[in-house]
């Protein structure tokens, strides 16, 4: 990590390091490369930082687990793959890391393989991710065969004029498809909820800050291709819709990890929106800040779950804010950052997206309104968690220092990373706009938080009445749009029916046309069994076979001879 920090100051230009030749066949040449530019350095620092903290956190979290060695091995493998993914500018190598990441994520989700739920969830998540792999692979084939004969993004960008707009559009759509599945956007959001079966430290590292942002990183890396295509507007639109819907879903969950998971989807949707409108620096900034505060929230969530003996439901979890001051404060810090309240980093990164959004497209206003939803689900989480009756009599164990230190460090970073905004070049000098925008979004946040406060803590009648009318919608949202059911009807059922049909065909054919004659043959041998001794008849079949072959070769030779 220290190395990479030095790196940030050392390199201003992108460099490529060739490590080894990998595949070299028929003109396809794949090398192990490391491509280092500012983006990869920042992401390497981010990944190594969070990975380090998660490792420390896990020392205590996984203390009681017998297979903790396996857990740490997976974490390290993941970190390596993430490094490899971010420090590359070659589609094929990114794809390799992409597949590897999906696989490690599968391993971590299914870490508790004794739990059948974990096995099912990991399988589901892996299959969904595999679909994204396949889209990516298709895109690779297309990139390679259309005209480029190379996977290097820089090379592709130079020669992008050689292919038709339709082809660029298809490539861009494929990349986009792969990215949104990986980033668990609406339509594919259930896999990230399934991924919550993983141990919480893994969720903090993988399913909040690094792996799921791989989709965004892909979009950022391939930005010249996407900008050349005509689909940017759709990307922005989709990002917004996705952010909105997953945000609403998050507001209707009761499982603490699932709330955070869907909020991750929502925030990633926000970044996709930023990519769509061309605000790539803002997207990167938000990616970094989001990674910091979301892993902070996940670490705290993990601690809360452990204190409550594995209870995930926020209405049942009991946490006293007095005995866990560190937890309480840091949790608030994370939540405020998530909502986008100054001086936390979330505020700055969101503001930069809003600014770009408003100046580039009318969608910016919609983006602004999403702040409200973010405020609602995050404040709901906090109010429900910490405003319970004060009758927590059960003794709760002390928070280990392995858990509190990383959390405190992340909190400090959540504040400190606000200054990162100075790194990113800002071309907006209009302070008035900036201030109005900030004021507007803060008032939205406050409004949202107030609404939730009145609803959950004060149990306001009017609001309860409204909400009781909305039960049907909230039920749909709670079930994550019934996506699992839809998938099971649209994909799983047909596949199973087809599988059953082919199975029946296979068996019917084998039984009727192949085994029935075989039975006849067996009967024949059985009658001969009565006459001859058992041993002899056992070998009848063998003899018949031999005779057939002998006859065959005899006929063959006579044929040749006669010729």
């Amino acid at each position: 990590m220290v190395f990479s920090c030095f790196g940030l100051y050392e390199f201003n230009n992108a460099i490529t390091i060739d490590l080894a030749n990998w595949i070299n066949v028929a003109g396809v040449e794949v090398n192990f490369n490391l491509y280092i530019d500012k983006l990869s350095l920042m992401l390497v620092i981010l990944t190594s930082l969070i990975s380090l903290l998660v490792h420390i956190y896990s020392i205590s979290y996984m203390k009681a687990d017998k297979s903790k060695v396996r857990f740490f091995a997976y974490l390290d493998l993941f970190t390596f793959l993430m490094f490899y993914f971010v420090s590359n500018n070659n589609l094929l190598e990114m794809f390799i890391a992409w597949e590897g990441l999906a696989f490690v994520s599968y391993l971590l989700i299914g870490f508790n393989y004794q739990k059948s739920q974990a096995v099912i969830s990991s399988t589901k998540a892996f299959i969904v991710n595999r679909v994204s792999d396949v889209l990516f692979m298709f895109c690779l084939a297309m990139v390679y065969t259309t005209n480029f004969k190379s996977f290097d993004i820089a090379y592709i960008v130079q020669h992008i004029d050689y292919i038709s707009t339709a082809e660029i559009n298809t490539i861009a759509w494929l990349l986009f498809g792969a990215a949104i599945i990986k980033s668990a956007q609406v339509g594919f959001q259930t896999w990230i909820a399934d991924a919550m079966e993983a141990p919480t430290p893994a969720s903090a590292l993988i399913h909040s800050s690094t792996l799921v942002s791989a989709g965004i990183i892909l979009l950022i890396r391939t930005q010249p291709i996407i900008q050349t295509s005509d689909i940017s507007y759709y990307i922005a639109l989709f990002g917004l819709v996705s952010s909105l819907v997953t945000g609403l879903i998050a507001a209707n969950q009761t499982d603490i990890k699932k709330i955070l998971a869907y909020s991750t989807s929502s925030q990633l949707g926000f970044m996709i929106f930023a990519c769509g409108i061309g605000a790539y620096t803002a997207a990167i900034f938000h990616l970094i800040t989001h990674a910091l505060f979301k892993s902070l929230l996940f670490m705290n969530a993990g601690e809360i779950i452990q204190q409550n003996n594995g209870e995930h439901n926020i209405y049942k979890q009991k946490v006293s804010k007095n005995s866990f001051k560190v937890l309480y404060i840091t949790m608030w810090a994370g939540t405020l950052a998530l909502m986008g309240v100054p001086p936390f980093n979330g505020f700055f990164s969101k503001e930069s997206i809003f600014l770009e959004g408003l100046s580039n497209s009318s969608l910016g206003l919609v983006a602004l309104s999403i702040t409200l939803i973010t405020a609602i689900y995050s404040s709901r989480l906090m109010f429900v968690l910490f405003n319970k009756d004060k009758r927590i009599s059960r003794k709760q164990h002390k928070i280990s220092k392995y858990i509190s230190y990383p959390v405190v460090v992340l909190t400090v970073l959540t504040l400190a990373s606000s200054f990162l905004i100075t790194i990113f070049p800002e071309q907006h000098n209009n302070n008035l706009v900036l201030i109005t925008l900030a004021a507007f979004s803060i008032s939205l946040i406050l409004f949202g938080a107030r609404l939730v406060y009145v609803y959950t803590v004060k149990q306001d009648r009017a609001l309860l009445k409204i909400s009781s009318k909305l039960t049907r919608i909230s039920k749909i949202l709670e079930q994550s749009l019934y996506l699992d059911k839809i998938y099971s009807i649209v994909f799983v059922k047909p596949v199973l029916i087809l599988a059953k049909a082919s199975f029946m065909f296979e068996n019917l054919y084998t039984d009727k046309f192949l085994d029935a004659p075989a039975q006849q043959l067996l009967k024949f041998t059985k009658t001969s069994q009565k006459i001859k001794q058992r041993f002899v008849s056992f070998n009848t079949g063998v003899f018949i076979l031999f005779i057939i072959i002998l006859l065959g070769s005899y006929i063959a030779l006579t044929l040749i001879a006669s010729h």
Binding site: V25, A26, M137, L496, F503, L514, L545
Partner: protein, 482 residues
């Protein structure tokens, strides 16, 4: 060194060794002697690799003895890169099979050694009649292996296996003899030049289909695959390993050796149809593998059909990338299928069952096996660091050259692959059942059997040149004919 008839040694050493071993009484001694013989063969094939000339465009290590002068039947051997790879695989797998098999009485080890010699012969011979005879001999040997050591339903399985293989044999024989009537030669190298000249289009069409159907049965492609699932599930572990590891590849080898160079115009004409069949086979067999509920060995058997279908699609795409990719996949699948059947064999040894219902959570009991299986899993699903990834990637790129829509459907097959591989993993390693028995993890022998396979898969995943360099000349020669 150069005058040593090394190919003949590779063929006859195991056959003579097998005959000698059949005379030994003690089962343990049998095993050790046969292990020694197969190891020596393996070393010899290593020498072959060492002396192989990568840049030569003609067949190497040729040996020629006239057998029947009037019919122009020759004992004519020679190899190129493709044959060399398959010979190496054959020798490796036989060595592992013998190492794995324990307490097998009578002819078991001898039969496998004979099979080794015969199969190496198949890959060396350049005389088509000898090829045919060896192909049928391999069937007979395999017949005995399944007959004497197979499972309960072996009669049914054997009936189908023999029937289909004999049909394939008849087709092949008719085609070979028909060609011989006209050009009075069984020499494959002559055929490549003479067949396109001496036959009319109509004749060549018929001959083409005879060859294709014969080899399609061996591969097997969809429509003629019905012998495979039961034959695999009823064969003893060693038999299944060899069947799907090597004998299925004989079909692909036949296509590359006979069909591609001899009928270049026909293949161009009919490749879309054949790709369609292959594609259908991939989806169909994957669905079967997903649905199979009674026998985990059958899951692997179906997956073999799916993989072979994928290889056929790739091969018929007819470009350099595709053919190289197909060969890479062939190597990867030979090792993969062998590994998976060994895993099932090991599980069956422990639990005494192949039924998913009887599986227990093996990941806890056998962590070493679980780790090795994970690598096989990566290879089977075409994920990085394995040969399967390299094969799949080059194949997909190659297929894309010929057709977009085929690529799309093939990729659906890729997703289905993950589904059945995951199901297999979940059933065998993560099931909820608990057992009261104590289950031992892999012993040293089993580790020695599985680790070369896994190591090779990973090695080829990083150094795919090892295969690609060997076959690039063969590939280019085939393509230049087209």
């Amino acid at each position: 060194m150069n005058n040593l008839p090394i190919l003949s040694i590779l063929i006859f050493l195991p056959i003579i060794g097998g005959a000698f071993i059949s005379l030994i009484k003690s089962t343990t001694l049998k095993k050790y002697v046969s292990l020694f013989v197969s190891f020596v063969s393996l070393v010899f094939s290593g020498i072959l690799l060492f002396h192989f000339d990568y840049s030569s465009e003609i067949v190497q290590f040729t040996e020629k003895i006239v057998l029947v002068k009037s019919f122009n039947i020759n004992y004519f051997l020679g190899i190129d890169g493709l044959s060399l790879i398959l010979i190496l695989l054959t020798n490796l797998l036989i060595f592992l099979i013998i190492l794995y098999s324990e307490n097998k009485k009578d002819l078991y080890y001898s039969l496998f050694l004979v099979l080794q010699g015969v199969t190496v012969g198949l890959f060396c011979t350049l005389d088509s009649l000898i090829f045919y005879i060896l192909l049928e001999t391999s069937l007979v040997v395999m017949f005995f292996i399944i007959m004497l050591w197979g499972g309960e339903d072996k009669i049914k399985a054997l009936f189908k296996y023999c029937m289909y293989s004999l049909i394939a044999g008849v087709f092949l024989l008719v085609a070979i003899l028909y060609i011989h009537f006209d050009i009075a030669s069984f020499n494959l190298l002559d055929w490549q030049v003479l067949v396109p000249q001496s036959f009319s289009v109509e004749e060549r069409k018929w001959l083409f289909w005879l060859f294709v159907i014969a080899f399609a049965i061996k591969i097997p492609m969809f429509g003629v695959h019905f012998w495979l699932p039961q034959a695999h599930s009823q064969a003893p572990t060693g038999g299944s390993v060899f069947l799907s590891g090597i004998l299925l590849k004989v079909g692909v080898y036949g296509i590359i050796r006979f069909v591609l160079p001899i009928f270049p115009d026909m293949i161009e004409l009919y490749s879309p149809a054949l790709m369609g069949v292959g594609l259908f086979g991939v989806i169909y067999a994957s669905l079967l593998a997903i649905y199979e509920k009674e026998d985990i060995k059958k899951v692997i058997a179906y997956s073999s059909i799916a993989h072979m279908g994928f290889i056929m699609i790739t091969l018929f795409s007819l470009n350099e990338l595709a053919i190289q990719g197909a060969i890479m996949q062939m190597v990867s699948h030979a090792l993969l299928a062998a590994g998976l059947f060994f895993v099932v064999g090991i599980v069956h040894d422990r639990l005494g069952s192949k039924n998913p219902k009887d599986m227990i959570s093996l990941q806890r009991h056998m962590p070493k096996l679980a780790i090795l299986f994970m690598i096989l899993f990566l290879d089977g699903t075409g994920l990085p660091i394995t040969a399967g990834f390299v094969g799949k990637l080059t194949s997909i790129l190659g297929i894309y050259y010929s057709s977009t829509i085929v690529t799309a459907i093939a990729l659906v097959g890729v997703v289905l692959t993950v589904v059945y591989m995951l199901r297999f993993y979940n059933v065998v390693f993560c099931s909820n059942n608990e057992s009261t028995k104590k289950i031992e993890d892999l012993n040293i022998k089993e580790l020695l059997v599985l680790s070369p396979i896994v190591v090779l898969l990973v090695l080829l995943g990083f150094k795919s040149d090892l295969v690609f360099n060997l076959t690039s000349i063969t590939t280019n020669l085939i393509l230049n004919m087209n």
